[in-house]
């Protein structure tokens, strides 16, 4: 066997494929062969390495050099200089490599590194090879659970860890599992909600593309704990690469006997299927998602009964977000107290964020719960683009809240943000610089809601239409006295009377934008 001198990882995710990663990969493989380096240089695919908007990205190991915006024309020079002669090609080196475990934060007097729990393998392993996941300790947790833990023990461990749902609602994952386990019935289901549609959020897509086996293992553990033998992953129809990768991963797990009957010679059997959505934001709401899975229009159901007692086809069903399930195997492997050593007391663990908008380096990051907004923007994302001033940020997507400049030092976690009438939601952070027009932003948010309102209940159907009418006239300076108060009043009524969280959450962006930027909006009226 020949000794591989360098490993070249090429990031293959929707963003880099868009920038031409496949062409670069082909050129690289050809050039390596042409220069006679085939036995010394290994070219491997990996998921997102955490860079966004930097074109095609390569990482050369063992040096750990990141190259960005690579084109096929650059390849001959890059191969000759770096891989043959050992001189990194300066002009393509990414000046600021993505910060993964390098950020240090003072906590309890100790400096320590930020962990990657959910994204541990993203951008490190080849997501299309189950062997690489196993080599990184993958499927150890399910092995441990099946051989040394009863289902109740798994639930207890998750409860003790304090893990809360990462899709936005932040409900205790352990409790949810417990409800489903104790609900009467022999047939139960696990559903993974991968219908990521919150504007500005694409963390679940990058997890699915970067480490699909971690999701499979998380679902298996959920199935074992709850007593379910079938799992479904409901993915947005637009996420072609995620669907392809996950289907491949499921097939590999079946081949290895990790999915199917009597897994690892235990009495536990579990299998999974992928379900492709067809474009409806409201299907991110769990009961609407279940309706859609059953082959109906994606209208939300009345709650209670909750899915844990009456879900898919009327059976007890657990619906968990991709990121939530991504935490499970690590908690089972390392224990609840390990998990609790990260984050804050009330919100243990980490949160995966997508940080976008007017920042220097947009990207996908994982930070401890409780990290301040300032650290996230200025440490992880390189600050505001082009040296401009920070104006505000929209946290948690369209159904989230705006925060103004005096909120930069707020600690980001589910519980703390609630005190400021904000939400962490899905973890999208849209940063706006001083040039951003608040009326324009609010208009865009309201148009989004009008488009996505499913029409099932009156307050949301009519409310969104009225709100759009009002903001549209404010935008062209034709607003009248009292219009701003009308926005507040309508959205407040919608919060109290809408059928599902879609209509209920609209007051968040409206009231928060008025809280911080009312002067700017009023100025368009007078």
């Amino acid at each position: 066997m020949s000794l591989v001198r360098n490993h070249v990882l090429i990031s293959i995710d929707a963003g880099t494929v868009m920038a031409g990663a496949r062409g670069v990969e082909r050129a690289l493989i050809e050039e390596v062969a042409k220069q006679g380096l085939k036995d010394e240089i290994a070219v491997l695919e990996t998921g997102s390495v955490g860079t966004i908007g930097q074109g095609v990205v390569l990482v050369v190991y063992p040096e750990g050099v990141y190259y960005a915006n690579v084109t096929p024309q650059d390849i001959p020079e890059l191969v000759e200089e770096h891989l043959l002669k050992g001189r990194p090609l300066k002009r393509l080196i990414l000046s600021e490599p993505p910060k993964q475990t390098v950020i240090k934060k003072e906590k309890a007097g100790l400096l320590r590194e930020q962990p990657r729990i959910v994204l541990r393998n993203c951008g490190v392993i080849d997501p299309e090879k189950i062997e690489e996941y196993i080599a990184e300790g993958g499927y150890e947790a399910i092995g441990k659970a099946l051989t040394t833990m009863k289902p109740e023990d798994v639930i207890d461990e998750i409860k003790k860890s304090g893990l809360a749902g990462r899709g936005g609602a932040s409900f205790s994952t352990g409790m949810k599992w417990d409800f489903a386990r104790s609900a009467p019935g022999d047939i139960k289901y696990i559903i993974c909600n991968a219908d990521e549609g919150e504007p500005g959020t694409f963390k679940d897509r990058l997890i699915l593309e970067g480490d699909p086996h971690k999701l499979i293992e998380g679902m298996m553990l959920a199935g074992y704990a709850v007593g379910a033998s079938k799992g479904f992953v409901y993915i947005r129809g637009e996420y072609a690469l995620s669907i392809e990768r996950l289907e491949k991963a499921i097939a590999q797990a079946r081949e290895y006997g990790l999915l199917g009957i009597n897994i690892l010679d235990s009495s536990f059997s579990f299998d999974m299927a992928v379900m492709k959505g067809a474009g409806a934001y409201v299907c991110g709401e769990e009961t609407a998602l279940i309706e859609s899975l059953e082959g109906k229009r994606g209208h939300p159901r009345k709650k209670p009964p909750y899915p844990v007692t009456e879900g898919l086809w009327g059976k007890p069903t657990v619906v968990n977000n991709v990121e939530t399930l991504g935490n499970i195997s690590e908690i089972i492997k390392n224990g609840a107290s390990w998990f609790k050593s990260y984050g804050t007391e009330k919100c243990p663990g980490t949160k995966v964020y997508t940080i976008i908008g007017n920042v220097a380096t947009p990207g996908l990051i994982e930070a401890e719960m409780g990290t301040t907004l300032r650290d996230i923007i200025f440490e992880y994302a390189g600050g505001i683009k082009a040296g401009k001033k920070f104006k505000g940020a929209l946290i948690g997507g369209a159904a989230g809240a705006f925060l103004g400049p005096d909120m930069l030092d707020v600690q980001m976690d589910f519980v703390n943000l609630r005190e400021y009438a904000a939400v962490l939601g899905s973890g999208a952070i849209l940063v706006m610089d001083e040039g951003a027009d608040m009326v324009d932003m609010l208009q865009s948010v309201l148009h989004f809601f009008r488009h996505e309102s499913c029409g099932h209940c009156v307050p949301c159907r009519l409310g969104t239409a009225q709100l759009v009418k009002i903001i549209d006239r404010i935008a062209i300076s034709k607003g009248t006295q009292g219009d701003v108060d009308k926005l507040l009043k309508i959205s407040d009524t919608m919060r109290d009377t809408s059928f599902c969280p879609l209509g209920q959450s609209l007051y968040l962006p409206i009231s928060s934008s008025l809280k911080y930027f009312r002067g700017e909006i009023d100025a368009r009226i007078h």
Binding site: A14, E238, A278, G279, G295, I356, G357
Partner: protein, 152 residues
């Protein structure tokens, strides 16, 4: 008939309805769900025509009107908006001489809006058929349209 071959790929069970509709639409030369598509799906799943129509009309990825050979879906959600999707929409409308939802006279392009594509890192972004393109500028849009015009 090609429609029967599509249906045979799936169990006749209601939970397959979205998969069946996706497949029928992808294979329709005019990239939409024609009445015949809805009818065969309804017969296969043993549900009324109106049921399938109601499902098809709910989801934005399905179209009940004939569309062009290339479907452009510009992202219009807040992140893309912040990065300038509004002026791109104006540009696309002028370049194609259609309104949102319209198809060009030569049948080559349909212009649609879509909610967040999750490509916010390279906003403004759009999909053309199954391909995502980001960091859009009028020049890039021109190049993409030109390329597609030549292809079809």
């Amino acid at each position: 008939m090609y429609r029967e071959a599509i249906l045979k790929k799936f169990r006749p069970s209601l939970d397959n309805i979205l998969y069946i509709l996706h497949d029928l639409q992808d294979n329709n030369p005019q990239r939409y769900l024609a009445k015949d598509d809805i009818r065969v799906c309804a017969d296969y799943l043993k549900v009324p025509y109106s049921y399938v129509h109601s499902v098809a009309s709910f989801y934005t990825m399905f179209s009940l009107e004939p569309r062009g050979s290339n479907i452009i879906r510009l992202c219009d959600s807040p992140p893309c908006h912040l990065m300038g999707s509004k002026s791109l929409l104006t540009y696309l409308k002028q370049a194609l001489k259609v309104d949102v939802g319209g198809t060009t006279k030569d049948g080559k392009f349909t212009l649609e809006l879509t909610s967040c594509l999750g490509a916010c890192g390279v906003a403004p972004a759009m999909m053309i058929n199954d391909e995502m393109v980001g960091n859009l500028t009028p020049e890039r849009v021109d190049a993409i349209l030109e390329k597609r015009r030549k292809e079809s």
